[in-house]
């Protein structure tokens, strides 16, 4: 249904997906009976590490979790794990798309997931460049300011959306058959 909404703008993307799907590595991935399921498994494991470390930081931002640890410490100590997990997730996610590009490129739920990821990234940047300057005022406090809570709520909402839409990608075919 994406191609109907986007019309001509969609054609280059579809061509690219067609091109990738014919590459030997893509064909091999697609036809491997055991590799693909294990890439899915690794994608879920990397999600556990990524979402886990992000969501716990969000709970601290909301003032409802890990309150005995200053926010700056939560952030600094989790950052390397978040980055590692993001690379791990991206690599496994890329392999999934590489193996079946045509499954994803015309799938509306896949693009909802990509959009939610992009907005989640913007939310993190906005927090870093705006709200973080006030951190000295509330680092160890029990009630973070509204701006911090907003960033936490947005992060939970957006990453939950990424997880939900990620899991629902295969159902788009049955739900939105046109």
């Amino acid at each position: 249904m994406i191609h109907i909404a986007l019309g001509d703008y969609f054609a280059p993307l579809l061509n690219l997906a067609n091109y990738v799907s014919e590459l030997p590595t893509s064909v091999q991935l697609r036809e491997s009976q055991y590799v693909m399921p294990w890439v899915f498994v690794l994608h879920v494991i990397s999600m556990c590490m990524f979402a886990g470390t992000i969501l716990m930081m969000d709970l601290r931002l909301l003032g409802v979790g890990h309150m005995q640890t200053p926010f700056s410490q939560v952030q600094r100590r989790l950052f390397p794990w978040q980055m590692f997990a993001m690379v791990f997730s991206s690599a496994t996610g890329l392999a999934l798309v590489w193996g079946n590009p045509l499954n994803y490129v015309a799938n509306i739920i896949f693009w909802v997931k990509m959009l939610a990821m992009a907005v989640a990234g913007l939310n993190a940047l906005a927090f870093h460049f705006i709200t973080e300057y006030t951190l000295v005022d509330w680092d160890s406090g029990q009630t973070p300011p509204s701006a911090a809570k907003l960033a936490g709520w947005l992060s939970i909402f957006l990453w939950a959306n990424v997880i939900l839409s990620g899991r629902l990608i295969p159902y788009a075919i049955t739900w939105f058959r046109s």
Binding site: M47, R77, I163, L164
Partner: protein
């Protein structure tokens, strides 16, 4: 035993879940969101046991802070897990991965609420560094096996 699973699958609720085109997918998707919270609350303590994570805090303090979220996400996992099991009970009965998942789940729960709990809440220094690390590693390994087998149920059964 098998008859028991067949009975569950034939309950009206189970059949309703199966016949709907959106209940199962949504429940499954929220199971994964709950998994994110569960993984986080487990990982915060395990990383701390390994000397990573919030290493400036005592282990007991990190465990105490994670506890309500551990319990809440376990409840959310059960609430979203049981309907999936009900609707697929006969299939789950035959799936080796479902059995593995349940075995690892029991092991992980026992480990978390006995050995890991004792080590995490003991006064700092009562257990050696190597033992503390081992307890964290075993926890990560057990819970990873639960998640891996959970994902595999959908592929090979």
């Amino acid at each position: 035993m098998e008859q028991y699973f067949i009975d569950i699958a034939s309950w009206p609720v189970s059949r309703a879940i199966n016949e709907s085109s959106w209940i199962f997918p949504l429940v499954q998707a929220f199971h994964l969101v709950a998994l994110g919270f569960l993984a986080g609350s487990i990982l915060m303590v395990d990383l701390r046991l390994l000397g990573k994570g919030f290493s400036q805090q005592p282990i007991a303090r990190v465990a105490r802070d994670a506890r309500p979220w551990l319990l809440a996400s376990l409840v959310a996992m059960v609430v979203t897990g049981v309907p999936q099991f009900m609707s697929l009970a006969t299939k789950e009965y035959e799936s080796p991965y479902f059995r593995w998942k349940m075995m690892f789940l029991v092991g992980a729960l026992i480990w978390t609420f006995t050995v890991k709990k004792v080590v995490a809440y003991s006064p700092e220094g009562r257990f050696g560094g190597a033992l503390t690390k081992l307890v964290g590693l075993v926890s990560i390994a057990l819970w990873t096996c639960v998640a891996v087998n959970g994902r595999l149920i959908g592929f090979f059964s």
